[in-house]
């Protein structure tokens, strides 16, 4: 039986590496992005193989889904910026003769010149081989699983990954939420969203299907959030699903952006981090140490934090997709 698995692994790994190589080697950006999304999905398959369903869910939702959407919308924006610059201004810079049509200069990356091929290859090979040798010398020992298992009863949840994420290493997860928030603040500090053109998707079909899809997405999201405490799932995966639903809404009706005015949106995106911090400070005050919970209160607090985290992750991902400050924020 394990022989079949080894063959499956080898085929899967070959597929992943092949797709990744094609993605990096492609001159057309659109092709590279599509290949990258495929790469993300294959990765999700690999994580399932490595018995990490949570991570597979996250990889598919965030790694392939959200990142893919972000990349595609970036390409769209690059194309419209170049188009606007090309037509909008009389003295446009002459399209460089070697490259393809100037309009798409931003969307094509001419194959890299020959001379930097050899040093880059050698450097990468050296790094790769050193890494592989180091990894092959490592003992095949189990990691911290027994330690986590020993403390599961006190962690307030049954699923080990959620226990690690929201109880044992809650500080890391808090900072992770903070990083998502900082990325958004950074994107917002760059400019207003009207600076970044976003053409609406034509036709009635997308809004129509959305009326069906969005409610189902919300129910699935809440289910995944709820299941997180005893089965694969949790705040981040649920947040990604709801975020995807939000992005679909943004694509379908860009004119009347469902973006709330400044203050509620700001409170929404900081809800997750703020609540997490409040619980943490309460824990510090009550003597359980920063971000510590009393055993009895662990479960309800974790659920509370997860709900707030899901809400703010979903909102932040949609806002990152729009990538511009809402007008309400400047009022």
């Amino acid at each position: 039986m394990s022989l079949l698995l080894v063959i499956f692994d080898l085929v899967l790994l070959a597929g992943i590496i092949g797709v990744a190589w094609r993605c990096l080697a492609s001159t057309d950006l659109f092709r590279a992005v599509v290949l990258f999304i495929t790469f993300g999905l294959l990765l999700a398959l690999a994580w399932v193989r490595l018995e990490a369903p949570d991570i597979a869910l996250a990889e598919a939702a965030i790694g392939a889904g959200i990142t893919g959407a972000l990349l595609l919308v970036t390409l769209e924006r690059l194309r419209s910026i170049m188009a606007e610059r090309h037509s909008g201004r009389p003295h446009t810079p002459p399209p460089d003769p070697s490259g393809p049509h100037a309009l798409l200069r931003a969307l094509h990356d001419p194959p890299p010149e020959r001379h930097s091929f050899f040093p880059a290859l050698i450097f990468a090979l050296v790094v790769g081989s050193l890494l592989v040798t180091a990894l092959w010398h490592q003992p095949q020992s189990t990691g911290l699983e027994p330690v986590v298992d020993a403390h599961m009863d006190v962690s307030g949840v049954d699923h080990p990954i959620t226990a690690v994420l929201l109880n044992f290493r809650a500080y890391d997860t808090f900072l992770e939420l903070a990083i998502v928030l900082i990325a958004l603040l950074g994107a917002w500090s760059l400019g207003r969203h009207d600076l970044i053109p976003a053409r609406p998707a034509p036709g009635p079909i997308l809004p129509g299907t959305l009326r069906l899809l969005v409610p189902v997405a919300i129910v699935t999201g809440v289910y995944v959030l709820w299941a997180g405490s005893h089965a694969p799932g949790g705040a981040f995966q649920a947040g990604a699903i709801l975020g995807a639903a939000g992005i679909l809404l943004v694509l379908a009706r860009p004119r009347q952006l469902p973006m709330a005015p400044g203050i509620p949106l700001r409170l929404g995106i900081t809800a997750g981090v703020a609540l997490f911090l409040l619980v943490g400070l309460y824990g510090l005050g009550a003597g359980h140490g920063f971000l510590g919970y009393a055993d009895a209160w662990a479960y309800p607090l974790i659920i509370l934090i997860e709900v707030a985290a899901t809400l703010s992750i979903a909102l932040t991902l949609v806002a990152l997709f729009v990538a511009g400050r809402p007008a309400g924020d400047d009022a």
Binding site: A134, T142, F168, I182, R266, T270, L277, D329, D330
Partner: protein, 494 residues
């Protein structure tokens, strides 16, 4: 004290993390009042850090006793995360508090546009919180996460002005930061794969000179050198620091780059201690010498005020690299290196702030046309000069004491018979001269005879804060003994 200071210390440490995070979160949630929250928050964190340092010195754990370690959420080392406070991190926390408070006060004057204020303050407070957490973190993966917090907010602040130069500098800085973080993370994963633990103290206990440690050392050092812009990997520093708003470049050159250096020091004294061979030390030393020469040469050639200061950061960090081989011969020299980094951070921050005031007044910072403004603002030029003197390592400044200690360590190695020590001493001594050259280049136009042009009005914060910080940099000299004593309270240090 009410009771023994030891009992208050853990809560004070976790409280510092909680407070700086709280200030950042409230500022993000309430952008309209972000600048007021920022000011009070800055003062509160500054006071808290001073209180913490008083507690730490009062508690005074002997250097051998384990540093104060706080288990977050009550979960002990292999499972949970530990905050780690010892002499080294305490000194750098106090440094961060001083420079950050000065920068916050400066920013009150520098960023006065209603909308920009709302964007600037939350990012800045997250950066400060990130730095505080970086110095307190005792877990390898947590270091990666705090480095990410610091890098992302730093990049966002670099791109803040929104000009083409700022955004292109920011993109380059971000890509290099992500590459550095991934390389650091791969090192952490290798260590985790080998030892199955993430806590630095436990890792240090288990690490020996095996292939995994060697590869992890290479990866993590390369990642941190990318972030600290140490010589061979410094390409991003000048455009990023040059085009960022003044308070941001002050913090970048002063604290963020020093933070990465702190991590290098912490790793090479702890987890990778068995790997530190003399040959490696000499290699790092040679890189340092190259950094000194290249950085100073660029600083002498650069046309813009902020570029000169940015290149001088690359040069001055050459000093820290040159000091690495000294540490291998005389294990006690690491305290001197940290003291030099502290003094450099103070001086560099005040030089950047002064340069920012001049740029704000003149509307540009092309050195050739700054004569008028330089002549019209003696206070800022004096701050620039005083901090410049500290960079040169001349008397009555912290720089002088730091350079004295570095020279003492260098000569000590020569007396102990290492011939290459002569190169280190010449580099340390010569570096000061080169610094004198480019500081003179910035200050000399003020003494040219010519018309005075006051330029735009500048808020009092921007006028007095650089001078205040420059004086603190000068007085740091007298705090030499206290700092070096605090640094001795670092267990596990050679």
């Amino acid at each position: 004290m009410i009771e023994a200071p030891e009992t208050w210390l853990p809560t004070a440490i976790a409280g510092l993390v909680g407070l700086s995070l709280a200030v950042a979160v409230v500022a993000t949630a309430w952008p309209r009042q972000a600048h007021r929250i920022g000011l009070f928050g800055a003062l509160a964190v500054f006071a808290w850090v001073l209180g913490l340092s008083a507690l730490f010195v009062a508690a005074g754990p002997e250097a051998e006793a384990a540093a104060t370690r706080v288990a977050l959420g009550g979960w002990e080392a292999p499972l949970g995360l530990m905050l780690h406070l010892d002499g080294l991190s305490m000194t750098l926390l106090v440094l961060t508090a001083i420079v950050a408070l000065a920068t916050s006060l400066y920013s009150l004057g520098y960023i006065h546009d209603r909308i920009e204020r709302r964007q600037f303050w939350p990012l800045w407070l997250w950066l400060w919180a990130g730095l505080n957490m970086l110095f307190l973190s005792g877990d390898a993966f947590n270091l990666y996460i705090t480095l990410e917090v610091v890098s992302l907010s730093a990049v966002a602040l670099v791109a803040f002005t929104g000009t083409a130069a700022a955004v292109s500098g920011a993109v380059r800085y971000l890509l290099i930061n992500i590459l550095g973080s991934l390389s650091f993370l791969m090192g952490v994963v290798l260590l985790f794969g080998e030892h199955g633990v993430l806590d630095l103290v436990l890792l240090e206990a288990r690490s020996e000179a095996g292939p995994t440690e060697r590869m992890a050392a290479v990866l993590m050092t390369a990642g941190l050198m990318l972030k600290a812009a140490l010589f061979p990997l410094h390409v991003w520093l000048a455009p990023a620091h040059g085009s960022a708003p003044a308070p941001v470049s002050a913090v970048l050159s002063g604290l963020v780059v020093t933070g990465s250096f702190y991590l290098l020091l912490r790793l090479w004294m702890g987890v990778f201690a068995p790997l530190a061979t003399p040959a490696f030390g000499i290699l790092i030393g040679l890189l340092g010498v190259a950094a000194l020469i290249w950085g100073s040469a660029q600083a002498l050639r650069a046309g813009r005020l902020k570029s000169i200061v940015a290149y001088s950061t690359v040069a001055q960090f050459g000093y820290l690299l040159v000091a690495f081989p000294l540490m291998l011969v005389d294990p006690d020299a690491w305290r001197v290196v940290v003291f030099f980094a502290v003094v450099h951070a103070l001086a560099k921050a005040s030089v950047f702030l002064a340069a920012g005031t001049l740029q704000h007044a003149a509307g540009h910072d092309r050195l050739a046309e700054l004569g008028g403004v330089l002549r019209a603002r003696p206070r800022t030029v004096f701050a620039l000069g005083l901090a410049g003197v500290s960079l040169m390592g001349l008397p009555f400044t912290g720089g002088f004491i730091a350079k004295y200690l570095l020279l003492e360590a260098g000569l000590g190695t020569i007396l102990a018979g290492s011939v290459i020590g002569v190169l280190w001493v010449v580099a340390i001594a010569g570096g000061g001269l080169l610094a004198a050259a480019y500081v003179l280049r910035m200050v000399a136009p003020a003494f040219h005879r010519g018309p005075e042009r006051a330029g735009e009005a500048v808020s009092p914060w921007m006028d007095w804060v650089p001078l205040g910080l420059a004086t603190v940099a000068a007085l740091a000299g007298f705090a030499g003994t206290l700092t070096l004593h605090t640094l001795t309270l670092t267990p596990g240090a050679p």
